[in-house]
């Protein structure tokens, strides 16, 4: 069966510090990968998606970047965090464009 791992679960970082959140998928190959951000009590905003190694599409201009160095690894990064980067970050994968996405457990990021 397929599983998705996302870490860390919680993170408190000072303003201006770098960020690296990692997500890996097991049990499937060539998944579509996604990073979402969820503000408190709100819906999910798509940040990045990837259909293959090294292929990243950005949905909104922001202080974040994403990379896919391996088929089942997706990384969300920032060189300098802003207070507004605080939120709940979710990684997800899907088999294709017309199938459901499976989500990781999320990372609660607090920038102080």
């Amino acid at each position: 069966s397929q599983t998705i791992h996302q870490w860390p679960a919680t993170l408190v970082q000072p303003v201006g510090s770098p960020l690296s959140l990692e997500c890996t998928v097991e049990g499937t190959s060539n998944p579509n990968l996604y990073w979402y951000r969820q503000a408190a009590g709100r819906g999910l905003q798509l940040l990045f998606y990837s259909v293959g190694i090294g292929q990243i599409s950005s949905e909104v201009p922001q202080n974040l970047s994403a990379s896919r160095p391996q088929d089942r690894q997706f990384i969300l990064s920032s060189k300098k965090l802003l207070l507004s980067d605080s939120g709940f970050y979710l990684c997800a994968w899907s088999r294709g464009s017309d199938t459901e996405a499976f989500f990781g457990q999320g990372t609660r990021l607090t920038v102080v």
């Binding site: 819906g43 999910l44 798509l46 979710l90 997800a92 464009s97 990781g104 457990q105």
Partner: protein, 111 residues
């Protein structure tokens, strides 16, 4: 731009009653719709999906109805249980890979 919204931000139901969560979408080109359940502090879990060539789909205790004429989607939960308490999101996809989520409806189940 495209948006997916919800009629009711919160819904409170008695245990054993049926729940109906509604969702409106604005992109007439959307052809795939998904309902997710999110419990506090966790990632969303897939509940049920429906493609635009259907108007109804049933799962275990859940039914999704799609009305393309008025661009409306609903999730019906039969015999609601305390474990159904969560935030429910509808989501749409208009081809490609971009899934747009609504703001969510919080369901409270009273024992």
């Amino acid at each position: 731009g495209e948006s997916v919204g919800l009629h009711l931000p919160t819904l409170s139901v008695q245990e054993g009653d049926n729940s109906i969560i509604n969702c409106a979408y604005s992109n007439s080109a959307s052809d795939y719709f998904i309902w997710y359940k999110q419990e506090s502090g966790k990632g969303p879990q897939f509940i049920i999906d429906i493609r635009s060539n259907m108007d109804k789909r049933q799962g275990q205790r859940v039914t999704v109805l799609l009305n393309k004429t008025v661009k409306h989607l609903s999730l019906q939960i039969a015999a609601t249980q305390p474990g159904d308490s969560a935030v429910y999101f509808c989501a749409e996809r208009a081809g490609g890979f971009k899934t747009i989520f609504g703001a969510g409806t919080r369901l409270f189940v009273k024992a």
